[in-house]
């Protein structure tokens, strides 16, 4: 009777997309993510105005036909700033998560494959890095390097690579104990073959989920630090900068800060929903227990 539980099989790779489309939350996430990606890629063509062009005469305008989202304290078009802000937010997130993922992959492989002492040393590093309250770590680095986009990316990489390294290390260790890997080894397969043929295909799923779960955090961090004036420097249209400027002109034009929060909320929701949906599709064993 236990076979009833063991018989659940992973959907074929081809079915992943279809399964995701059937899940309303995953679908909503996918739509939002695609919309923001399109916004980021097409910003120069779809943004109605220059995001940093001043027009002080037209400051604090409420939403109108000319300026769908109104204008800010320097008369800049809010919608254009938000659209360019998507390019900034996603650009920084994808760059830093990409670097963090690559760094995590390398270090995780080194820890998993390398000698025992190196593994222990690296695990200590990963553990101490993730045992520090993230934000204080980030702030210390910013103090040393000074605020700016490069610092921001570096901070995000430093903060998020340990989780990727741990994932890869765990997978490597569990794989190297597997019988079929031993068999491959016995037949003379080198580590490169094992990494590319067996390890990487196995970690793609968890990596994608982790990335989807990580991007909202990174977007939040970018916007939050920029909001504190410690991230992307003004006048760059970071969502955090727009929020901070809107907050400062809360009395004159409350619409700015209200509108500026929306893309941030939608983008983080989108990636989270997509990540949740992907997880349910890729790892159906836990699906019954989780909320979908």
């Amino acid at each position: 009777m236990s076979s009833a539980v063991d018989d659940i099989t992973l959907p074929a790779r081809r079915g992943i997309g279809r399964a995701l489309l059937r899940d309303p939350m995953g679908l909503a996430g996918l739509v939002l993510v695609v919309a923001f990606l399109a916004m980021a890629l097409l910003a120069p063509w779809i943004a109605p105005y220059d995001p940093i062009a001043l027009n002080v005469k037209a400051k604090f305008q409420p939403p109108s036909a000319a300026h769908w989202a109104g204008t800010d304290h320097l008369g800049r078009d809010l919608l254009s700033r938000i659209i360019w802000g998507a390019r900034l937010a996603l650009g920084i997130s994808i760059t830093s998560v990409g670097i963090a993922g690559a760094l995590g992959l390398v270090l995780g492989l080194v820890a998993g494959y390398g000698p025992r002492w190196l593994d222990s040393a690296l695990v200590l590093v990963f553990d101490s890095m993730s045992s520090l309250p993230m934000i204080f770590f980030a702030l210390a680095v910013i103090t040393v390097l000074g605020p700016g986009t490069t610092t921001l990316i570096l901070v995000i990489v430093l903060v998020s690579f340990p989780s990727y390294a741990r994932l890869i290390r765990t997978q490597t260790l569990s794989l190297s104990g597997a019988d079929y890997i031993l068999a491959e080894r016995a037949m003379g397969a080198g580590p490169v073959r094992i990494i590319f043929r067996h390890l990487l295909p196995n970690v793609v799923g968890p990596m994608v989920i982790l990335i989807c779960m990580d991007i909202p955090v990174v977007i939040m961090l970018e916007a939050g630090l920029s909001y504190l004036n410690l991230g992307v420097k003004p006048p760059s249209p970071s969502w955090g900068n727009i929020l901070a400027e809107g907050y400062n002109s809360l009395r004159q034009a409350p619409h700015i800060v209200v509108i500026a929060g929306i893309p941030l909320v939608l983008a983080t929701l989108g990636f989270t929903f997509l990540g949740e949906g992907l997880r349910d599709v890729l790892d159906p064993r836990g699906a019954g227990r989780r909320w979908t």
């Binding site: 009777m1 076979s3 009833a4 018989d7 659940i8």
Partner: protein, 319 residues
Amino acid sequence: MSAPLSVENLSVVYRVAGGILQAVRDVSLSVQRGEVLGIMGESGCGKSTLAAAMINLLPVGAEIRQGGVRINGTDMLKLPPAAQRALRGQSVAMVFQDPMTAFNPVLTIGRQLADFAGAHDPARATPDRLVAMLARVGIPNPARFLDRYPHELSGGMRQRVAIAAALLMQPDVLIADEPTTALDVTMEAQIIHLLRDLRTSFDGAIVIVTHHLGVIAELCDRVAVMYAGEVVEEGTVDAIFHAALHPYTRALLACDPAVVDPSSGRLPTIAGRIPDLTALPPGCAFLTRCTMALPACHNPPPRVLLAEGRSVLCHRVQP
């Protein structure tokens, strides 16, 4: 007066990937006050599912297709959930197979017993009563036991506690699902001993589910032999052990290590396997393994009633 427990034409299925698995098929049984009924069979014959159905606590995926479970004449399956709950523990109590996992690991024994009793009658959940019940099942120093955690007790002790818990509300029916299977031999002997002692002081009906022929012989008055979800033979312990009629019962008894002639140098087994319960043939389920099969066995076997409480499901038996 109606029997404390009677099962009528009960069928239970599991929804599995391969279709519908028929775990219990058209089973009818009843137990009287003061009587001990054994339900015997190999693993996978449906006896544990039947036991779970008797208190309507089936695992997820199981479904009762037909039939009823009458407790003192009331069909439990037709009652609303709250009324079913009121019967559980109060009128029907259960002792489970694995005493290691049957108790909550982070609550003391006393707290759990008090919760079980308190679910029906807080007045019965007093420490004095709990201690008295623990003493009755032969636990030394019972007062100190209430503050112990389950993992601090041996398996045998936990099973004693489980039996004490079941007896707390003085139920009309006590169901023990493989009560000794998870224990080692000495513990098993002690628990059998305890259950035999309780028979004299307990006036309700007892159902013991086991694959262990020794337990049946030691404790039971009557036996129902199950195979592939059906009761294939039912009778007194004497009748089953000394004058078994169904070929399966005979084969099962011949396999008991306790009766095998050691000089033969080998253990007998029943050839073949249990049929696929998701695709049962129309005829006798034991047909493929039966050494005495007739051409008629391809048709559904008749239930031959030989006497009150004595029946066989076989073409070979004549009324």
